[in-house]
Symmetry: C2
Subunit: 890 residues, 2 copies
């Protein structure tokens, strides 16, 4: 007995995707739950596989089986393929087990020929429509099945319009279409040396073969390679009766959602057009009507449609996006799929569906894309507002801001102190601009990528930032920029949208972030589900408070260097760095001690009762010093203008010192705990400040939980040496104050050697925090500052790497080191506390990895804490099998 | 029965080091092979352990056992401890199982007291000598056993000399010594509140206890920590009869080697003094006589001594360094140990001993320190010459050179073309100086460490280099340097010794490298033994020929970038880099193609029949461009002097372009195969040049074996993309020329991710070459250019790292990645060819590691190839157990 290659829709269901393809299985499912789907049948993927096994030959008996099913269709519909009076028309579509949108071929209106087109004209009473269908079919069939290039059909059509002196297709008459059809047919005959097939069964055979062939077309092969889809799945072929919504006032087409895709409200939402095909609804030539008006136009159909919406929504347990056609008063459902929705709607629908008993809390949690939440957590521009968008850059840090354009950090700080809102506009920012960034509402730069200084700092502070907006041109040192013919001067109002990259003239109207009650409920469920804790990165009490408000269970990274950048501190820090001897350095450190004590006091107090991981000084010292190139230019200028003055000599001395500190590769240079090794008094001061602040808080009845973190460690010896100094500082503070306190000492794992030697290091270190920014830089040998502008984009274009490794954790390389580091670390200290800081800590796919390798927590910018809470719960749900992976029609 | 704690020398042997300590076991060994060793016995390490187990109490019965052995000594020597007529004197010395030179305590002349000193005076007939012995004993005992500080004894002695108005100890009389002795004794009594012990048995008990105590003195504890010697080994105590070489003309002392330590010749070599103690021989107050004169002075003793030398040399199967004393015509051997020797002697002795049937070839191979060979392979300054050394810097690249001092690369090149020999003197070198380095005999810099640009380049070229010689001061742009009050002007003759760091005024006399026949034989044996192949790194045909001459089995690293630095090429290279469009770039590449073809032709020809691994362009592009800071200064200068000129505008444009190419961390930036990804035409040109050269050679009947190496790979995709281009270039050359040829394509593994993903990469790559310089930089996060000057020295001082990881491969971190990389790589390609290039490939300990992890070859600078051959053989011998580990008395 031969294999069964063809299934009626009635014979399948949603679980048969491998055999029937995704589209076929779904049409079968809808048919079987009683929806009015235009009838049809499916040629299985097995037939496709056999086709290739036999060297691209249709399997024996396949066409007989198809003909048999066509006969069943004819009986059901009372139409006959090729019949001149009442012709059956079908669509022939590919449908692989895995969605490959647009990769393979589709033919509509198959069954038309020189005779049946007249039948169609008669039965629809619309000659022009029938001819239009026919010419479309010839074009599509000629292109897809007979491989005549599409542009040749296009030029024939254009020539006809030129002859008629019209612009649009719909201005052509039935007579025009007849001419076009004749020309199309002779084009095919000239090109392929065989006529356009008039026999519908021949058309069908050729179309099935063409769909099979398209499984191995270039686009599809590349698509599968990229998405790692196996080549041997094969595609099914869906053959379905055509229905038409343009057969009069009792016909129509529309699209609708089972719930409101903007707000998530439980109401059918959509639009339709009477006497129109689906493409007319989306084409925009006529304005569609709200779906509710169907109640007046065709009350019975409307009632039926609402019931179907209800049914589909419940059946798929998700909001559906439905395409339908009404042919002469009869409703047909052409497609249903999970609908796209806004973040608000996603949350509302997920929470409502839990309340409706349709889905579990675990399912609700995985229904919301964490990245979508981002803009809910920031002020954003009113989507209803009319905007004067003058340029678009990179969406480097989400949220929107409006203010007066200023072009340097000092002015930004000055105006902000006067109560003005400002947007800092720079070609690019440097650490010297920090006070300006702090003062500004948002940052706009003309150069630099998603990981440029401005972007990283802004994200860290949760400030909106648009980067690399190359269209704007800043004129030398003048406080002016131009975009095309618009000129923006200092003080002019502008707005930026860091979520989309838009730069807007004037102050755009803003909406405040909405943390709706549904959002709160969803996050609470996420918290119940997840096993991974979420901390925030914060360098100031305000940031710490924000992190706590957003649900952080502690601070995972408190960078002490940002504290050194304040305008009141930088001179002292520079004094310390440039000190020729230990005494001068100690004097500077003495001045910094009370400031640091206050810093730590504030943050520990904001996080009262929760752990705060304080990283000792990390960046290369030159980051605190003036730019060497500018200084050199200053000196040359002074030499020419003023000659040998004390100022010149002072600058020359400064240059000498800075040069001595300058480095070829500062990322790999004198930084991190290497500073603690060479200048032990710096770390001693910082540790002392931490412990003094701890004592201050204990005396006030608070519960500070300091974790002292030593950065950039590569060896146990190094850690032991530095831990001794921290312990000594603690002992001194205990002795001086008579107050007992607890603390832990741990390290960042941010260099490959630390991960490789994690077992040794964990003998001494009480916690590990993976610094994946630096670990990515060293594991891949990619300098973040250099890679993005210079070569990383090529790597992504050529798909040499799947993602930007600074945005999404590189599991294969960096991830392997992390997994090793955790395993080795816990082999010598089973209760080792392990977390991740760095930007990956707020990125959902990276968070999933952190869950998989058994970290205790992730830490991210305060504004991403809710996203991380949700992503951590999703990681738990999908990795620990809390719900089936395949839910709905996705 | 109680434990036996004391062994006579006759009861032990060399194998009992753990129980008897190294020194004791050796004294026992000598005694038992019949040598005239002053008799004595050993208190075991077990006694010491028991001492600590019992809380620093001498084990029960120990002193009884010692007294028993003292009685045996008294019987043997006819002297009695404490006897006023003929007192027995002994030495009491520590001796741990592992050598810890100078860490623990020793007491000589024990047994002297107020009465026995008179007996000694009588029996030696030398009152002054006896009193001198006594005052030394009190001093030593007071210091070591009674903990009175040494300087206090010193000041008493100084006061006595001041009173006498004399300068030297030997000018003091017996009466003086009596006064000193009285003062010493009262010093002790004042300090310790107990008198200096007169009872020799009490002295002995205290001395044994002191030796045990010294096992835990601070020095010893630290020493053990550093050398990872377990604390629980304990020390033995050696108690031995004193003998005196200063008892008249039939007495004497000397030191001698069983073979000539300078040349290795088989002749007893040494010197002695009659009527003198050992310290007089080395003290230099009297000039010792050659050992041969002993034949005339004491013929019988001389004959006996020669026999003993012969015996020891054969017994230990190594050249011995022997200390002896003749007491009244009787010869005593005090110590024998393996003698230190020059490289020549080491080779000669090892080879001779094989010929003499004393040792195997495997043993001979491990007898020579590979590092010692270094200077044999370079010209070196005649060690006999009188030199005017004006400064000493770092010995950055071995060998010596003399020539005229020049201060810039252009002058160096010009003078060299005129036939002058020059030494290039710079504060530091940059890639711009390459043509000057090529032209010079040697390089001298005032700044930079062992891995500075000058050092690395010079080592690569095998040119002598002295770096970081901070004593020399170069005056601004004047061609002059000063050291103290010496001024060296351009054209003045200087010499440098890159093996010692010496800088010498004038042209020092030089010796050419000696590749003696013995050296050749030793290397041939090494070649038979080793399994690891040795290749050379070479960028020019001359270097390749040198590598081949020194025994390289191929080229492991041919850097194409040095070829780009030539004065004729740099402008074209800059043109290529600064090209605004692909056409301009292609035009520049067209010009470079014939040059590269010629380069590769020369190297492949020099290595005819052997593989040449050619690395495609690797360094960051800015290395080929002018310095940005200097350019900026030039521009500022032009702005002030000339105003707006075409020259200024051109420089400004250049600055703009260079700035666009400049990077924060060039090490991690746009370099290596990233250049091949972004500018595919560069690699295409290079591959084409390789294959054209291959065809040229094949047509001439040669056998070129090119290996094309893609640097800085992190992913299989990246490698596949670039390999396709290499393969395409090969296909084109084959098609154009009609000549078939073979080649392989592989990669450098120099970033952690490449090692972690080696299995995937090896599916495509036919060979791996570990680039351990870069792998060390990224694994440790140490920029080589920055680490040495800024913090690495602190790491080494504090022993946070055992070695400079750029000199000696970091086995724990980098080594682990290498081992993983090899294992993973061979898991998907079992016949993967694996090597190492980079400086570790020539360093013996690193070579041992390469052997252990199963590499196929190491590759190093041509001048280190013989060293690597020897080290590879040693790795085989010691790791594969070809000879016992413990040979001789080391």
């Amino acid at each position: 007995m031969s294999t069964k290659y063809v299934y009626r829709f009635e014979e399948g269901n949603a679980g048969m995707k491998n055999l029937l393809g995704g589209k076929g299985a779904n049409l079968a499912e809808m048919t079987n739950i009683g929806l009015p789907v235009p009838p049809g049948f499916i040629v299985t993927t097995e037939a496709c596989k056999e086709f290739y096994l036999q060297g691209r030959r249709l399997p024996d008996g396949l066409m007989d089986e198809i003909r048999e099913h066509i006969r069943l269709l004819e009986q059901k519909l009372g139409k006959v393929l090729g019949d001149e009076q009442n012709p059956l028309l079908v669509s022939v579509r590919s449908g692989a087990p895995v969605s490959m949108p647009g990769m393979m071929d589709t033919v509509l209106n198959l069954g038309l020929n020189d005779r049946t087109v007249e039948g169609l004209a008669r039965s629809t009473g619309d000659e022009r429509f029938a001819l239009d269908c026919y010419r479309r079919f010839i074009n599509m069939f000629g292109d897809v099945v007979m491989h005549v290039e599409h542009y040749q059909f296009e030029s024939i059509l254009q020539a006809q319009k030129d002859r008629r002196g019209v612009q649009h297709d719909h201005q052509l008459t039935a007579a025009d279409w007849r001419e076009v059809i004749a020309r199309y047919k002779s084009l095919i005959e000239t090109e392929i040396r065989r006529p356009f097939p008039q026999d519908p069964l021949e058309q069908l055979t050729m179309a099935v073969r063409a769909v099979f062939d398209s499984w191995y077309n270039d686009r599809a092969v590349v698509y599968r390679k990229i998405h790692r889809i196996p080549d041997d799945l094969g595609t099914a072929v869906n053959i379905q009766a055509m229905v038409f919504g343009n057969m009069g006032e009792d016909s129509g087409s529309g699209v609708a959602f089972t719930r409101n895709p903007s707000t998530g409200e439980r109401e059918v939402y959509g639009e339709y057009l009477t006497n129109a095909q689906g493409e007319d609804v989306v084409g925009g030539i006529r304005t569609p009507k709200p779906i509710q008006e169907l109640a007046a136009d065709l009350p019975e159909v409307y009632r039926q449609f609402r019931d179907i919406c209800e049914l589909l929504d419940r059946h798929y347990r998700d909001m559906q996006d439905i395409e339908f056609t009404i042919e002469r008063g009869r409703l047909y459902i052409l497609q249903t799929r999970n609908g796209k929705r806004t973040a608000q709607a996603a949350i509302r629908i997920a929470v409502d569906m839990v309340d409706e008993g349709l889905i579990s809390r675990e399912e609700a949690v995985v229904r919301v894309e964490p990245e979508q939440l981002d803009h809910l957590l920031h002020r954003h521009i009113d989507p209803e507002a009319k905007l004067d968008v003058i340029a678009t850059g990179l969406p480097a840090s989400p949220g929107s801001a409006a203010g007066k354009a200023v072009f340097d950090a000092d002015t930004a700080e000055k105006l902000a102190q006067e109560g003005e809102k400002v947007i800092l506009v720079r070609n690019e920012t440097t650490p010297d601009d920090i006070h300006g960034i702090v003062a500004a509402q948002g940052i706009l730069t003309s150069r630099g990528g998603m990981t440029s200084h401005a972007a990283v700092v802004a994200r860290g502070m949760g400030k909106p930032c648009v980067c690399g907006c190359e269209a704007i041109r800043i004129k030398g040192r003048e406080p002016v920029f131009t975009v095309n013919d618009v000129t923006v001067r200092q003080g002019d109002l502008i707005s930026i949208d860091g979520s989309t990259g838009r730069v807007i003239l004037g102050a755009a109207p803003m909406l405040d972030p909405e943390l709706s009650p549904e959002f709160q409920r969803l996050l609470e469920w996420a918290d119940e589900i997840r096993t991974l804790e979420v901390r925030g990165n914060a360098d100031t009490p305000a940031d710490a408070a924000k992190a706590r408000e957003f649900g952080a269970a502690g601070i995972g990274l408190c960078r002490t260097e940002h504290m050194f950048m304040g305008a009141d501190r930088l001179p002292i820090v520079q004094q310390m760095i440039l000190a020729d001897d230990e005494d001068t350095r100690r004097a500077a450190l003495e001045k910094l001690l009370p400031m640091q004590r206050e810093d730590f006091y504030g943050i520990l107090k904001a996080m009262d009762g929760l752990p705060v991981c304080i990283r000792l000084l990390d960046p290369p010292l030159h980051e605190f010093l003036p730019d060497i190139e500018e200084l050199h230019v200053d000196i040359t200028r002074l030499q020419f203008t003023a000659g040998d003055t004390p100022e010149l000599r002072e600058k020359e001395e400064l240059l000498r010192k800075i040069r001595a500190l300058s480095e070829c590769n500062p990322m790999l240079g004198h930084r991190g705990c290497r500073l603690g090794i060479t200048y032990p008094e710096v770390y001693a001061m910082q540790a002392r400040a931490v412990f003094l602040a701890t004592v201050d808080l204990l005396r006030e009845g608070h519960h500070p939980v300091p974790e002292v973190e030593i950065p950039l460690v590569i060896d146990r010896n190094e850690f032991v040496f530095l831990k001794q100094q921290v312990d000594q500082a603690a002992a001194e503070v205990r002795a001086e104050t008579g107050v007992e306190f607890e603390y832990t000492v741990g390290t960042m794992i941010e260099l490959p050697r630390a991960a490789l030697l994690a077992d040794e290091i964990a003998r001494e270190a009480e916690f590990f925090s993976f610094g994946t920014n630096d670990l990515t830089q060293t594991t891949l040998g990619f300098s973040r500052d250099d890679a993005e502008g210079k070569f990383l984009h090529r790597y992504l274009e050529l798909k040499l790497l799947p993602d930007n490794p600074f945005a999404v954790l590189d599991r294969k390389g960096v991830g392997r080191l992390i997994a090793m580091g955790i395993e080795l670390g816990r082999s010598t200290r089973p209760d080792l506390l392990v977390g991740i800081c760095g930007e990956h800590g707020g990125e959902p796919r990276s968070i999933e990895f952190c869950h998989q390798v058994g970290m205790n927590y992730v830490s991210c910018s305060p504004y991403r804490v809710p996203i991380a809470r949700l992503a951590a719960a999703q990681a738990r749900v999908t990795n620990d099998g809390l719900v089936a992976k395949d839910y709905g029609t996705k």
